[in-house]
């Protein structure tokens, strides 16, 4: 046998002329459907209103008050959410304890519950008579503490917080899942208590996750409507947030104003997303 016969069959290498274009056309085409839908939604809003109408709607004192309350309530609800979600997300991520599954499921309830049901549940919680003397949380807060909740601004924040916090807990859980617990273990061998290991090692690594949780909570709070309507009402200048404004303007046939407020909400959401994304990239993990 000659060497050429024993060696593997020599083949002339020719590139197979297969284009990647169909791949990108199909994948890009499918992806574009969703992006296009969102762009068209905003474009339609823009086309429907004019700048003058936009300005005159925003000049209304009711809408300006709603804008201020929205900014304030969303920020407070998001801060509270991150404050609660950070320890809760950490405990759920790091420890296996009896009842963990139950707590994990309870956290998801506000996400799956219909918004109106959530509002109704909050209302019932604050007005349920307890015991033979009919003790009621709302009456106690109003008469003893001097802090009325239902149909006031605290109800707006509580309604926003209830849903926003659930999303923040999920985000913080994933954040801590992605942080290697070994560094905290080593910190404990070096003299840290569990609390010190959390504060000095885990928390600084979670800063990006906390910003993400704040963003998600803020965005959820901005879009909240059903629970606010039921629990806080829709009183102009008092419990009106921008999502309520859209509803109130629509209900009195002011479509132009409703669209103008909607556009304002789009702008706010975009600004918050961009600012927080910029803040997030400034941090190194």
């Amino acid at each position: 046998m000659s060497p050429s016969e024993s060696s593997p069959r020599s083949v002339q290498l020719v590139p197979r002329r297969r284009s990647d274009a169909p791949f990108f056309i199909v994948m890009g085409g499918i992806s574009a459907c969703f992006v296009l839908l969102i762009v068209l939604l905003v474009a339609a809003d823009l086309a429907f209103t004019s700048f003058a109408e936009f300005r005159s709607a925003l000049a209304k004192p009711e809408i300006q008050a709603a804008f201020r309350l929205t900014l304030l309530s969303c920020t407070v609800a998001a801060l509270l959410s991150v404050f609660i979600a950070t320890p809760l997300g950490y405990l759920l991520s790091r420890y296996r304890f009896p009842g963990r599954f139950v707590i994990d499921t309870i956290v998801d309830i506000p996400i799956v519950l219909p918004p109106l049901v959530l509002g109704l549940s909050l209302l019932i919680l604050f007005h349920l008579p307890i015991g033979s003397r009919g003790w009621e949380l709302e009456s106690w807060l109003r008469d003893e503490v001097g802090f009325q909740v239902t149909y006031r601004w605290p109800a707006v924040i509580l309604a926003q917080f209830t849903v926003a916090c659930a999303f923040a807990v999920r985000t913080m859980g994933v954040t801590f899942d992605q942080i290697n617990p070994r560094a905290e273990h080593v910190a404990r061998t070096l003299g840290c208590s569990r609390a010190q290991a959390f504060l000095r090692i885990a928390l600084p690594q979670a800063s990006r996750g906390m910003i993400a949780a704040f963003t998600i909570a803020w965005a959820r709070a901005l879009g909240e409507f059903g629970p606010i309507l039921v629990f806080a009402g829709a009183t102009r200048m008092r419990t009106e947030v921008l999502s309520t404004s859209v509803f109130l303007e629509l209900s009195v046939g002011q479509l132009d104003a409703a669209v103008a407020v909607s556009l304002l909400m789009v702008c706010m959401a975009v600004v918050v997303l961009l600012v927080l994304r910029w803040l997030g990239t400034g941090l190194t993990t």
Partner: protein
Amino acid sequence: MIGIVDATIHAGNFSLNNFSIEVQRGEYAVLMGQTGCGKTSILEAICGLRKIHSGKIYIQGTDVTNFPPGDRNLGYVPQDLALFPMLTVQKHLEFAMKIRKVASSIIADRTRYMSDVLGIDHLLSRRVQGLSGGESQRVALGRALAFEPSVLLLDEPLSALDEKTREEMQSLLLTIKQTTGVTTLHVTHNAKEAESLADRHFRIENGSIVS
């Protein structure tokens, strides 16, 4: 000294039953055995990161079985190093001393001394991302030794290094052994490494420990 008396550890699908280990003060002991036989579990039990089913653990003659990890006064270098991603090299060296509220002048002296011994003084201001394998290993060793623990636990400290760095680290471990005299338990599966460093050998065979 390090003493494990009649201990039983259950971990995953294996258990080590009623074993004992004793390393005298200042001794350098090497614990060998195949991958997955429980070497790391023994170190974690000494650290207090893993509960033992029964038995006692002694460090410097004190029964530390129920002590939290931070009160056992030991330095631990895990196999994955687990450096702190947000801290600089200098902060790593200072970490255990700051937790113990050591005076800042002593912290500065110890940090300078450790970085000098380990040859990492040029890295002090850097974060740990981007350090080479050998450099990371030195930082982990410095973090574990800077507060002068009575015991040093090393989990396969040379396994992920290239040959040249491995030799450098091996001679560094010899230097540390001679200068600090810290009681050391070093886990490895490399016989050559064990031969050049150890005063005392232990081996895990079929779920029990032979010395």
